[in-house]
Symmetry: C3
Subunit: 341 residues, 3 copies
C-alpha cells in the first residue's frame, strides 16, 4: 500500500508542512524509518533523533514545527502519539482485507441463536442456543459463544475465544485468542477436610470498547456478576476472579491477578505481574507499579509500589539473609539508642 | 425459577423457622438480597447485617437462631456456609437445562475410541483412538481428548479443553476452558550452548473430584507421571510442571507456579501468585500466603509468607534503596555495638 | 517395547560394559528403576544411589566406570545427561505411532493456502488463505494457522495452537497446546481519560528449533516484528510482549513476563515467575533467578536475583513491618554514629 501525505491529512487532520504529494508506504519508528515511511516524535527525550531520522515525514507537536520542517515534511498536531494511534487505525482499515459477513458452513450454530446478517461467524466456531450475535461482529474461527451469551455490535472475537453461557460483551470490544470469559469462579466450602463446590450462578458483564488480551481469564460471579466497565483494557494472561468489578478506562498489564470480589476504580493502571488480594477496594486514579502485591484497600489516588529490588546474586544473597533478621536488627538498634542516651 | 422454603429443607435438611410456604427465586448476599431471596450468614463479623438485610430467609448457625427468627424466616444449620454451598448445587441442578447424551455429528471421534452411551460429546470436539469416555461425562465443544486418554465417569470438560495422549482424569472432575493437561514438561540437556530436548515420556494422572480452572497447565512427566490426587482444587492460570505430585484435598489459587518434581502435601493451600521451586517437598497442612516464593522444603505444617509490603511509591523508593545496603547497615550496627561495649 | 542394550549403543554410541543382549523396556530414574530399566547418573551428588539402584543398566561418566561396572551393565559416555536426552528422543521415535500425512476431511483449509503433501493437518484445524505449511509438519487438531502465516519444515503444532496472520515459524519447532502467537500487542494512546487503540501492524518471527510451552503468548509487534531467535526454549504461561527480541538459545521458565520492546541476549536463562520491564536490554549470558523483577538493563553477564525470602508467617510479619521503616532505621543509625564519633 502507498498513500500520499495529503490522503493522511484529509482523513486525520493536522497541519502538513512540505510536499503533500509525497508518498508513504509504511509507518515506522524514528530510528528505523526510511524515506518512504512516516514516523512520529511523541517523547521530547527522543528529540535528538529528529536530526538523524531518514523518515519521509515526521508527526510532531507545535513546539517542534520549525525544527521538523527544516529537515523535510512534517505533520504538526497537538498530540503526536494520539495522531499516530489514529494513523495506525486508518492504516489497518486500508490494508486489511474486508471479510464478508455470513456463517461459515463449517461453524455450528444451534437452533435459537440469533446471528445478525451483517455478522461474520468463521469456520469451526460454535454459537449456542439463545445467544445473540449483533450487527457487524466477528466470531473468529474455533471460537465458542455459549448459550444465551451476547456479542455486542461491532465486537470482534479472534480465533479460539470462549464467551461462556449468559455472559455479555458490549459494543466494539476486541477479544483475543485463548481468552476465557465465564469459567466458574474458585469457590468452595470446607467440609471435614474436603472442599464442597459452590456453584457459580452469576455471569460476566463487559461494557463497550473493552479489549482483552490473549489467554486472559474472567470468571463468572458466584451469585452476582463479575463486571468490566466501558473502555477497560486488559493485556494477556490476566486473571480476573469472580465478582471483581473493574471501573471504566482502567488498563491492566500482562500477568496481573485480581482476587475475588475486589473493586478497582476508574482510570487506574496496574503494571505487569502485580496482584491484588480479594475483597478490597482501590479508588479511582490509583496506579500500581510492576510486581506489586496490593494487600489492602487503597483510599487515595496515587502511585503504589512493592517490588523487591534485584541485584547481582551475591549482593542479593547478603541482603536477603540480613532481611530475615531485620526485626532483630531493629531491636539491637533500639537497645543501642537507649544505652547511649 | 421459584421454590418454597419447604422444598429447600426437604432437599437439604436444616431447621426452618417461619413460613415454610414462602417462595424464593434467588440466592443473594445479605446486602443485596430482596424479599424473595435466600441469603446466609457464615461469618460472625457480618452479624450486624442481620438487622438490615431484606432477605426473605437467612441461613444461620444455632447461636443466631433467636436473632434471625426475630426478623423473619430463618434456616438453622450447624455450618451455614456449607449449607449455602449445597444449596447452590441443588439450585444449579434445578435451573440448568439437562443436555442429552450422544456424540454431536460435528464432533470427530477416531475409530477405536470408546464413548459410553450415557456420555455427551459436543460439537467440534475430538476424541482420539483408544480413548475412553466413561458414563455420564461431558466432553465440551471444541475439546480435545488425546489417544488412549481416559475421562472418568461423571467428569465434565468445558469447551476447549485439552486432555493429552495417555493422560487420565478420575471421576466427577470438572475441567474448565483452556486447560491443557499433558503438554510436554520443560526438559532439556545443555549441549555446547544449545538445548537438546528430553522427550517427555510420562503422562498426567488425575484423581477423583478434582477441579481445574481456566487456562491452567499440567505438564506430563519426563519419565514417571505428574500426579494430582483426589479432591484437589486448582484455580485459573496455574502452572504445574512435570513430575509434580499434589496431595489430596489441596487447594491452589490463581497464577501459582509449581516447578518440576516438587511434592506438595495433602490439605495444603497456596494463595494466589505464589511460586514453589522444583525438587522440594511441602508436608501436609502447609499454607502459603499470596505472592510468596517457596524456595526450600517445608517440614512443618503452618503458615508461610514472603511478599514485599507495598507502600506509596515515594516511601517504597526510599525503603527499597536502603534495602540494597542492608548488609552494610548491619555491619555498621555491629561496629557501633563493638565501639560502645 | 523392549530393546537390547546393543540396539541402544548401535544407535547412540557410548561404551557398553556388561551383557549387550540384556533387554530394556523402560527408562527410569535411579531410585525407581527395576532390572529391565535403563537409568542415568548425571549429578555426582547422587553417586551413592549407584549402590542401591536396581536398574538393569546405568549411563555414567568415565570417572564412574569401575564403580558402575561392579554392580552390573553400564554405558559410559562423557555427558550422561546429554546421552539420556538423546535416548529419550530415540525412544520416543520407536514408541510413538507414526501418523500419516494429509489433510483431515474435518479440517478447513482456505483456498490459496499451500499444504505440502508430506504435512499432516489434523481434524478441525484451520489454515487460512496464503498460509504455507511446509514439508513434514504437523498442524494439530483444532489448531489455527492464520492467513499468510508460515509453518517451517518439520515443525509441529500440538492441538489447539494459534499462529496468527502473517506470523512465521522456523524449522523443527514444537508449539504446545493453547499457545497464542500473534495476538495484538498492548498499545494505546491516552486521550482525555480514554484509551485509543494503536493497531499492531507488525508480526511475530520465530527461528528454527524453538519450543514454546502450553498457553504461552507472543504478541505481534506494533510496527516492526517481535523476534524469537533460533533454539530458544519457552516454558508454559509465558508472556512475551510486542517488539521483544529474544536471542538464540535462551531458555525461559514458566510464568515469566517480558514487557514490550525489551531485548534479551543469547544464551540467557530466566527462572520461573520472573518479570522483565519494557524497553531495556539484557546482554548475552545473563541468568535471572526465580521470582525476580528485572527493572533496569543488565550490561554484565552473570546471575541476578531479587526475590523476597519467605519465612514462617510470624517472622515474616515482624520483618515486613520493620521493612516499611527501613529508611527511618538507617537515619537512626546514622544519627547514632554521629553522636558516638
Amino acid at each position: 500500500m502507498s498513500v500520499a501525505l495529503s490522503d493522511i491529512v484529509a482523513a486525520l487532520g493536522g497541519e502538513l508542512l512540505g510536499d503533500a504529494s509525497a508518498r508513504i508506504d509504511a509507518i515506522a519508528p524514528l530510528d528505523g524509518a526510511g524515506p518512504s515511511a512516516i514516523s512520529f516524535l511523541a517523547n521530547p527525550r527522543y528529540r535528538s533523533q529528529l536530526g538523524s531520522t531518514r523518515a519521509g515525514c515526521v508527526i510532531v507537536a507545535p513546539a517542534l514545527r520549525d525544527e521538523a520542517a527544516a529537515r523535510g515534511a512534517a505533520l504538526v498536531t497537538p498530540d503526536p502519539y494520539l495522531y499516530f494511534a489514529r494513523l495506525t487505525q486508518w492504516w489497518a482499515v486500508r490494508t486489511r482485507a474486508a471479510l464478508p459477513a455470513g456463517v461459515h458452513p463449517g461453524a455450528v450454530v444451534e437452533e435459537g441463536a440469533y446471528i445478525d446478517p451483517t455478522a461474520r461467524v468463521e469456520a469451526l466456531a460454535f454459537v449456542g442456543a439463545g445467544a445473540v450475535v449483533e450487527a457487524g461482529t466477528v466470531v473468529g474461527a474455533q471460537s465458542f459463544v455459549g448459550r444465551a451469551a451476547r456479542v455486542g455490535a461491532g465486537s470482534r472475537l479472534a480465533a479460539r475465544v470462549v464467551l461462556g453461557e449468559r455472559c455479555t460483551l458490549g459494543q466494539r470490544c476486541i477479544v483475543h485468542s485463548g481468552v476465557v470469559i465465564g469459567a466458574d469462579g474458585f469457590g468452595f466450602a470446607p467440609d471435614q477436610g474436603r472442599w464442597e463446590k459452590i456453584e457459580q450462578l452469576g455471569a460476566v458483564r463487559i461494557g463497550d470498547d473493552v479489549e482483552i488480551g490473549a489467554n486472559t481469564c474472567i470468571d463468572r460471579g458466584a451469585l452476582g456478576d463479575t463486571v468490566i466497565e466501558d473502555g477497560v483494557k486488559l493485556d494477556n494472561l490476566i486473571q480476573i476472579a469472580h465478582n471483581v468489578h473493574i471501573g471504566a478506562h482502567t488498563a491492566i498489564a500482562g500477568c496481573v491477578a485480581i482476587a475475588g470480589s475486589t473493586r478497582i476504580g476508574r482510570h487506574c493502571t496496574i503494571a505487569g505481574a502485580s496482584s491484588v488480594v480479594g475483597h478490597i477496594e482501590l479508588v479511582d486514579h490509583v496506579h500500581v507499579s510492576a510486581c506489586t502485591l496490593v494487600s489492602r484497600s487503597i483510599r487515595q489516588p496515587g502511585r503504589y509500589s512493592g517490588s523487591f529490588p534485584f541485584d547481582d546474586n551475591a549482593s542479593w544473597e547478603k541482603n536477603a539473609a540480613t532481611l530475615r533478621q531485620l526485626h532483630a536488627l531493629r531491636e539491637r538498634l533500639k537497645a543501642l539508642e537507649k544505652k547511649i542516651s
